[in-house]
Each structure stands twice: as structure tokens, then as C-alpha cells.
Amino acid sequence: MKQVICGACGKVFEGETEEKANAKYLKHKCKKTGFTPTDVEHYDALSNGRFSLQSKAALARGEKRKNSKKKK
């Protein structure tokens, strides 16, 4: 059995494969944040809101690269 542990609340998820354990992890509502690991709010709660700022910067870099490729 493979295990995936939520780094925030410590809950352990098991599955025959990592993918199956991870699927359970992704669906759980974290007791520490009150959100699932697919919610932006989960990461903002863990980083005092810094995640959204980092995400915005990642989007800006990605769009800039896409636009520079178009110009070429």
C-alpha cells in the first residue's frame, strides 16, 4: 500500500498505488485550512495569502513568455 500524507493536517491516505492514495488526498477537506488541496484558499491559508501573490507572478511570467514566442 502506498501512503500520501496531508502536510497541513497530517491525515494519512492509503491506496494500492500512489495515484489512488493521492486521489483520496485531493478530495479531502483539510482540517487545518477548511479547504481541499485543489482550492487556492488551501494554499493561501498555509502561506498567509502569499500563494495568490506567487500564483499571479507565475501567470505574468507565463503570459510574457507566450507573447514573446508569438512575436518571434
Partner: protein, 167 residues
């Protein structure tokens, strides 16, 4: 909406995954979020390797995550060396997990960059140009600190894990 991205760490022979880690402390035990005061490295020895991945848990409507860059900011203590498999040239591809070791790593052999790399230095699917277009994981990032016999104290520095996101 935006993609949700976090760092996952894998430990022990069972390759147990801890998702959304909150630090990457390194020391003399193969454990996530370890206490380096409780597990110091004897000068002249190596920390356990860290085996980590960048994980996209949801794309949030975006089309691509790519250009993964890894570097450290802040100095190490004494003459310690921080080594990694991440590199911009001669990238070794996706490594297969092996139980983290505290002897010299044969995979983490490149000096960890101390400023933002020009291009990607961690791959997806074994190369540096592939993008994630759905939830998934990067290749393994492996890193380790080797200390010098004359080192007398540890240090605190920042690991940077950067990605680009395309809407």
C-alpha cells in the same frame, strides 16, 4: 481561477509522500519537516538526500505549467556544499525513486544555483521543455548538503521553487 501548486516530499523505502510541505529542513534523518536541532549532521558528513516534486493539484482553468526553476538564496554555514540533480544543461532526466541516503549522492552532483537560473533546471516527464497540461508532478528534485569537517554551525537559507503558468 489559478492553478494550485505545492511541493511534495517522498521519504523512506516505502516512498511515502507528504503533500504541501512547509519547509525543507535538512539533517541526519530521512523525514519531512525535520527538526535540524534534533538531527544535526556531524561535521564532515552529509545530510540525507531530499526527494521532492513540484505538484500541480489542479489547473484552475490554465493551460500549462512549465519552466520549473530551483535555486537557493542565502549562504550555507562554513564550507558546506549544496548539491542537486537540477541543472540547465546535461539534465539527467526523470530519476527513479531510491531510498534517501546520507552518504554522498550519486544523483545530486551539481552545485545548487544561488540565483535564479536563466532557463528551466527541473524537468517534467524527463525533459526541460515539456509542460504539465493537467494535474500532475514534476520529475524528482534531489538535493543534499555535504558538510566540511571544519564546519561548526548550520545555517538558514531559502529554497526557491518557481514555475510559469499560462492561462
Amino acid at each position: 481561477m489559478a492553478a494550485t501548486v505545492a511541493i511534495a516530499e517522498f521519504n523512506t523505502a516505502g516512498e511515502t509522500k507528504t503533500a504541501s510541505i512547509t519547509n525543507t529542513n535538512m539533517g541526519d534523518t530521512d523525514a519531512v519537516n525535520l527538526d535540524p536541532v534534533a538531527y544535526p549532521v556531524t561535521p564532515g558528513n552529509y545530510t540525507y538526500e531530499k526527494w521532492q516534486k513540484i505538484e500541480v493539484t489542479a489547473m484552475g482553468g490554465s493551460s500549462a505549467i512549465d519552466n520549473l526553476k530551483i535555486w537557493r538564496t542565502g549562504a550555507l554555514g562554513g564550507s558546506a556544499a549544496h548539491l542537486t540533480n537540477a541543472r540547465e544543461t546535461s539534465y539527467g532526466g526523470a530519476e527513479t525513486f531510491a531510498t534517501p541516503i546520507k552518504t554522498v549522492s550519486t544523483l545530486a552532483t551539481e552545485t545548487m544555483p544561488t540565483s535564479e537560473p536563466t532557463d528551466a533546471n527541473l524537468g517534467i516527464g524527463g525533459d526541460l521543455v515539456t509542460a504539465l497540461s493537467a494535474a500532475g508532478l514534476s520529475d524528482y528534485l534531489i538535493h543534499q548538503i555535504g558538510t566540511d569537517a571544519g564546519d561548526v554551525a548550520g545555517s538558514t537559507s531559502t529554497m526557491n521553487y518557481q514555475y510559469d503558468e499560462t492561462a
